[in-house]
């Protein structure tokens, strides 16, 4: 009896499996058509303004024009994106189009590791017009005659300021020209002192200046103390960094003094608190903030029309030392294709990348995200997007960063993550210590970073000539 029951149950199970296998796929023709599509994996970062553009604008438009290609969008948190990418590559999972500068080490490391496809032969074959791009920006992703990526956004570093706080205190706005030599660290400090209220009471304070230039070494640029060897950003390697020059010591100490000597800036703990409340600058409790150009789009939702909003403007980074030739850190993000692909897979990836950098797609991206574009033509349109600032002023201040700046070390130095972690760890105590003395700390920071630089070069078999 039991055996018979088991036999029947077994037969039923087999029958149901056979029926399931023979059944037509759900959706009929549509599903069949879908199965004929070739799939591309596009990796993007989690971002409230970019993700809707990717999902609702870019992918539908591309798939409509290329019905045989399906885009599988993979959205990953920026801090974890490099980890996910490494895991996918290690597992042999398909990954076609992505950006190397999000999380982890950045473009230089990925280039050296051979992860990026050389696009030059494809550009030449298709006669792609690259002159539409800002040439200096395109050149960042070219190395030894090979073009590895196409930039889709680029920005310098700036001082963002709260116009409402300036107006309320009757203080004149900072200039827009990067060549204005009266725009000095001391002048910015004097303004910050004028605008700071209750600095010892974080709950009720208004701070004059949050200094947030990143990476940490870039504060030295303002003080004419560029710490890298001349060829470091070309090769991606450096034997040493100079953190002990007079200018470098002055730079770090000046930033430290903003918090503890002049009391115009919040300390690290207060910044963390303000950030958790939606952002230090966005809180309306900060008059000026020096930081990377992501402010252009991160602060784009802060307008006088929204509750708690205000008008904000943008100024150049001040001169820490007279005539400092390089002050702005430039951040340019490119789309790249994974190396090692060929045939149809490569063609499809290239088709998609060409679409992403096309004028129409780039315009849609710019409009959706407020990010600065990389094509001359679109820049003129982008300058019009800021209601509180004259477009001519936006143009002056935006472009000035490029003639007074260099691409960021996090994009151009191999092994940046470890370099950054090393100086961040040692400087972290300094930023939190009211008695911190840059002159006594920086030799140790320099020695530790130099040790890391040599290890990175050794690992990559790089020799210094």
């Amino acid at each position: 009896m039991k055996r018979r029951l088991l036999t029947w149950m077994g037969l039923l199970a087999v029958l149901s499996l056979v029926l399931a296998a023979c059944a037509a796929p759900a959706g009929g023709d549509a599903a069949a058509e879908e199965s004929m599509q070739r799939e591309l994996v596009w990796m993007a970062r989690t971002n409230v303004v970019e993700n809707p553009w990717e999902q609702d604008v870019a992918i539908p438009a591309f798939e409509a024009a290329n019905p045989d290609i399906k885009i599988n969008l993979l959205i990953v948190d920026q801090a974890d994106i490099a980890v996910k990418r490494e895991a996918m590559i290690a597992a042999g999972e398909p990954l076609h189009v992505w950006s190397p500068n999000w999380g982890g080490n950045g473009f230089a490391s990925d280039r050296v590791r051979g992860l990026l496809h050389d696009l030059s032969p494809l550009i030449e074959r298709d006669g792609l017009d690259t002159s539409v791009f800002i040439s200096e920006v395109l050149a960042i992703y070219e190395n030894e005659g090979r073009q590895y990526g196409f930039p889709f956004l680029t920005t310098g570093s700036y001082m963002f300021y709260n116009m409402d706080l300036f107006d309320a205190a009757g203080v004149e706005y900072p200039p827009v020209s990067w060549d204005d030599e009266t725009w000095t660290w001391d002048r910015a400090l004097a303004i910050a002192q004028e605008l700071t209220v209750n600095p010892d009471d974080p709950m009720n304070a208004t701070y004059g200046w949050v200094e947030g230039i990143w990476p940490a070494e870039a504060i030295t640029w303002l003080f004419d103390a560029f710490p890298w060897p001349d060829d470091a950003f070309d090769t991606g390697f450096a034997q040493s960094i100079d953190f002990t020059s007079e200018g470098a010591v002055n730079a770090f100490q000046s930033r430290h003094d903003l918090t503890y000597k002049h009391k115009v800036a919040p300390d690290a703990a207060a910044i963390e608190g303000l950030s958790a409340l939606g952002g230090d600058f966005q809180s309306g409790k900060v008059a000026m903030k020096t930081t990377g150009g992501w402010g252009w789009w991160v602060y784009s939702t802060v307008t006088p029309e929204v509750e708690g909003g205000f008008c904000w403007g943008v100024a150049p980074l001040p001169f820490g030392a007279p005539g400092a030739p390089t002050r702005a850190v430039i951040f340019t993000d490119p789309w790249v294709i994974t190396a090692g692909m060929e045939g149809q897979e490569l063609e499809d990836s290239w088709t998609f990348l060409k679409y992403l950098i096309s004028e129409d797609a780039a315009r849609a991206y710019m409009q959706a995200t407020n990010t600065p574009p990389t094509q001359h033509k679109l820049l003129e349109e982008w300058y019009q997007q800021f209601g509180c600032m004259d477009p001519a002023d936006v143009k002056d201040v935006y472009q000035g960063a490029f003639t007074n700046g260099l691409e960021s070390s996090n994009h151009l130095m191999v092994g940046f993550d470890e370099i950054n972690s090393t100086w961040d760890n040692l400087l972290g105590v300094f930023w939190s210590d009211p008695e911190g003395d840059a002159a006594s700390l920086l030799p140790d920071v320099e020695a530790s970073v130099n040790e890391v630089l040599l290890r990175i070069a050794e690992e990559q078999d790089h020799s210094f000539e």
């Binding site: 290690a90 709950m203 919040p266 703990a269 207060a270 993550d417 470890e418 972690s421 760890n425 939190s432």
Partner: protein
């Protein structure tokens, strides 16, 4: 009709069923654990950055690890954390278990549940973010309360102020220890089970002999639950050396300030996934395994005279 099987055949049958039922776990262990374990051992002798095939380098990773300053710093952070968090966790869990083991307390079940609930999310991102906020020196409620009670203008004006918690290298590990106490509910439950297994006759006998509450705890409770204490000590130690999520969240993945939150597994992770040193990171993993193995053996050996097993042979269970 039931057939009567000879004893040997029955035992064989039973063994067969045992293997059949346990086979999914064994297959999983071999495929999903055994494979990676062996692979990591092999990788520890290579230089491997994912993009290129692994390159055999012998014991170079092991030698390099021993010369790596940050490795020692991370070992110190994890060691210090273990030294503080494990004993404190045992004391707090045991005290709470004893409180919740009282008879005649109304709503005891509710209290037990309430005290256990936080353990469900212990070690999670949410708890790390919560404590980051609670312990913020400027805006956190802990320092606010400290200033209200013992600050310059507090109820008892002692002029004290709260520490800078995660911003002061000297306070970083204690802050993580404080955070770890959030998860005491798990061990508390184990202690509660242990306490309920202590025969009441022993307490009655002790009471008749004139033993007070402390003597009963020292001479009856502690020996009787000593295997449970040993179990929570060893699992707690292993867990403490493997702490990662809170350190990653609070330090933003950097291990700062001054490497004060560079826990061992965080440094391992950074080497593998941020710096593409998978071979080196595998070496770190095996070092950790050896450290934990040695400490566990020491703990088991040292516990022989201190742990009481009710029936001979029970010690083989651990």
């Amino acid at each position: 009709m039931l057939s009567i099987l000879p004893r040997q055949k029955m035992a064989r049958n039973e063994a067969l069923w045992f293997w059949l039922f346990i086979s999914p776990w064994i297959v999983g262990l071999i495929l999903f654990r055994g494979g990676p374990i062996l692979a990591s051992l092999a990788l520890s002798f290579t230089e491997y950055n994912v993009a290129d095939p692994p390159k055999l380098v012998g014991f170079e990773n092991y030698a390099r690890l021993l010369q790596d300053d940050v490795f020692y710093k991370s070992l110190r952070v994890s060691g210090l954390y273990t030294l503080m968090a494990v004993p404190l966790g045992i004391v707090v869990s045991l005290l709470m278990a004893m409180l919740l083991n009282q008879k005649g307390v109304p709503f005891l079940g509710v209290f037990r549940t309430l005290y256990y609930i936080p353990a469900l999310v212990a070690g999670s991102v949410a708890v790390a973010l919560l404590f980051q906020w609670l312990l913020n020196p400027s805006f956190g409620i802990i320092n606010f309360l400290i200033s209200r009670f013992v600050g310059e203008e507090g109820l008892v004006p002692l002029g004290l102020s709260g520490p800078r918690w995660f911003f002061d290298p000297n306070w970083v590990v204690p802050s993580f220890v404080l955070m770890s106490l959030w998860g005491f509910g798990g061990s508390m439950l184990i202690y509660l089970a242990g306490l309920q297994g202590v025969p009441t006759a022993l307490y009655e006998a002790a009471r008749i002999d004139g033993a007070g509450a402390f003597r009963r705890f020292r001479n009856v409770t502690l020996p009787m639950i000593s295997p449970v204490i040993l179990f929570t000590f060893i699992t707690g130690m292993i867990g403490s050396f493997q702490i990662f999520t809170p350190a990653y969240i609070v330090s933003g993945g950097g291990g700062g300030p001054a490497y004060a939150s560079m826990f061992y597994v965080l440094y391992l992770y950074l080497n593998a996934f941020r710096r593409y040193r998978f071979g080196f990171a595998s070496t770190q993993a095996w070092f950790l395994f050896i450290i934990i193995l040695v400490l566990t053996i020491i703990a088991l050996r040292a516990s022989r005279s201190a742990v009481y097993y009710e029936s001979p042979g029970d010690d083989k269970m651990i």
